[in-house]
């Protein structure tokens, strides 16, 4: 086991897959000589050369389309979109082509392509560069959407995503890149299956469901709650589509209360989806209605105090958790 950053875990996964399968190649803006805006592709251009680590112009629609074509012809492209905000100009390629080709071609051809891209906010990148749009894609049949929260999961899931025969949107997070954790040694050929949530912390009083960086916030809120005598269980979804409802349901059957937290806007979000599913699957197990919490429903402000007010920070998450416990008569309201 080696202790590495989330960034390095991704880099190793790419390196190992490039080495393992010569059909794998990388494509994106500034990922070669410059080694990527967030340095995830550090050293790979030097090691594998410009044919397998391809620089592209600023043309997301064009290079995602090129990735789709390459994938249809048997290659395994891993396309980097600098941030999830820029995928909007390639939306037609992702939603109308990559997601639909296998079904529309009668299963004769698929799109084994990975699009890697970071979401997230908190660095005063303001309204157009601070979004968490992963639910737009999780809404779409034909796509898989993965959003790991730890270096180990990022490493294991990226390798699996590259080996998957269908398009996978691999959602990273700006704030996660410097987070450290242990990952298995390269020789182990470690992979993780897509669509399996993970209980990141066990608890009996309340389930907090999250994905990506929000898992870390949830764990820190669970620590705070523990100091007041409440044990929150934290479920890390790891993947939004396929969505591992079973793990969430098993947890809620144990705790009787569920709070779904997400960095993006809660309306029509992960919380909306899970609240509906949990409401049905756990109807007789619930002691309070499922609750959700997300970022403020505004375009992200630039001003630091306003940005802090809009982000789904620990205090907001903790307040929602305590209010849910209060609804169950376990803590005083307010």
């Amino acid at each position: 086991m080696a202790e590495v950053t989330y960034r390095e875990a991704l880099r190793r996964a790419l390196d190992e897959e490039l080495a393992r399968d010569e059909r794998v190649f990388l494509m994106g803006e500034e990922i070669g000589r410059f080694e990527g805006s967030y340095k995830v592709t550090a050293g790979l251009w030097a090691k594998y050369g410009p044919k397998r680590v391809r620089e592209t112009p600023i043309s997301e629609e064009g290079f995602v389309g090129a990735g789709i074509g390459a994938a249809m012809l048997g290659l395994r492209p891993v396309v980097e979109i600098m941030t999830i905000n820029f995928i909007l100009v390639a939306q037609d390629m992702v939603v109308n082509h990559a997601a639909k080709i296998r079904q529309m071609f009668g299963g004769k051809v698929g799109v084994p392509m990975v699009i890697r891209t970071p979401a997230g906010a908190g660095a005063q990148l303001t309204a157009q560069h601070s979004q968490s749009l992963e639910v737009w894609f999780a809404h779409t049949p034909g796509l898989k959407v993965v959003a790991p929260s730890s270096p180990r999961d990022a490493y294991g899931l990226l390798k699996t995503a590259i080996r998957d025969d269908d398009p996978v949107l691999f959602v990273e997070n700006l704030v996660l890149y410097n987070v450290t954790g242990s990952i298995p040694e390269p020789g182990d050929d470690f992979t993780l299956p897509l669509g399996r949530a993970h209980v990141a912390r066990e608890g009996a009083d309340l389930t907090i469901v999250a994905h990506s960086y929000t898992v870390r916030r949830a764990l820190s809120v669970a620590d705070r709650l523990a100091r007041s005598g409440f044990e929150a269980e934290v479920v890390d979804l790891r993947s939004l589509r396929p969505l591992d409802v079973d793990t969430v349901v098993a947890s809620v059957r144990k705790t009787h209360r569920v709070l779904i937290a997400e960095e993006g806007w809660a309306t029509f979000g992960v919380g909306a989806e899970l609240a509906a599913r949990v409401g049905r699957a756990c109807f007789d197990d619930l002691d309070a209605p499922p609750e959700r919490v997300g970022g403020a429903e505004v375009p992200m402000p630039y001003s630091k105090p306003l940005e802090l007010a809009a982000l789904m920070l620990e205090d907001k998450l903790e307040a929602a958790a305590r209010s849910l416990l209060a609804e169950s008569g376990l803590v005083e309201a307010g």
Partner: protein, 423 residues
Amino acid sequence: MAVEVPMPRLSDTMEEGTVARWVKREGDHVVAGDVIAEIDTDKATMELTAYEDGVLLKILVGEGESAELGTPIALIGAEGEEVPETAPRANGPSQTAPREARAEESSAADRHEPAAPQAGGEAVGEVKASPIARRIAADAGLDLRELAGKGTGPDGRIVKVDVERALGKEGEPGRAAVEPPASERAASPGPPAPVDDEVVDATPMLRAVARRMSESKATVPHFYLDAEIDMGSALDLREELNQALAGDDERISVNDLVVRAAALALVENPKFHRSWHDGKLVLHKSAHIGIAVALDEGLIVPVLRSVEQKSVREIARESRDLVERARAGALKQPEIEGGTFSISNLGMFGIPSFSAVVNPPEPGILAVGAAVKRAVVIDDAVRVRPIMTVTLSVDHRATSGAEGARLLASIKRLLERPVLLLV
């Protein structure tokens, strides 16, 4: 249709209330917003206002009687409206009567709806309960109507913990924060009573004091610092002030000087003047000083606000008012909240020194003993001086021994040169 007036939640910690006085009588007209009764909570006497216009048809809980939160204590309805025979009647915490009354009402309602009761607790459709509460109750054969009005969820919803309590279970694990502390819990089954002893219910205030003091001693790491203060100059100053104020029927007490000294010292020592809140420190800018007041039965700590901005005379006037109203049980909830430090003075009982229990989340409390004439050595000569011993109890999470020592040094300096208290 008559509307029930439930026993309201008037403080964060109250579990039941006692009707101190009915302001309105049966038959009186009431308008929403009128004060209809005064309720003793565990902390203070609070006013209960009506939420409905109408006539106070019936008082269900008499003066001096207690009822749990949510229990109907009166009925308000239209003039001349008949009070139903089955009107709930609460005689105190036992609740037997209202439970039966409610069951009768419900069965009457059931007769109007011939639909057969469904599985899964549908028969108790008019009782609001969470799904898991319904399931546990159904499994245990408990009729949720028995818990009507006692739910602790939103709008009285019966939740899991209510059913578990009713079934006599301990509740879920991790309940330490909400279960009553052992000191209270031990009392619930009734202590064993030798024949010549008597067992009485503790008042809500005594229970609140018991809870808070147990919580403090169990969770606040206390340490204690003593200081001996030469009160000669302070007593002279007090004498002079009282002579000057004699015509105004005002008197300054030693305690007023100590309160003023503590406030100035707290503002001078910001590293002491802060409270521990779950991993965070709240830095207090202004000194709000609680004064422990012994009551005939119990103890209450009214708070003097922003004392550093007040003259000794204002402090004397306000603290006399607070103490008088504390003894009369007439303090309002905001007057007993928000302290940043407390003072407990047993000097009038001749106690030379003692240690007090920190009143969380305040960082400390100063226990003040009597000024006693003692032989002390000054400039190598033995002199007789009035010495007052004070003991500072400190929350070691919020601050340290050195900061406590600095605070005490400030208090000592101010009281030994008391002219500083006047500027």
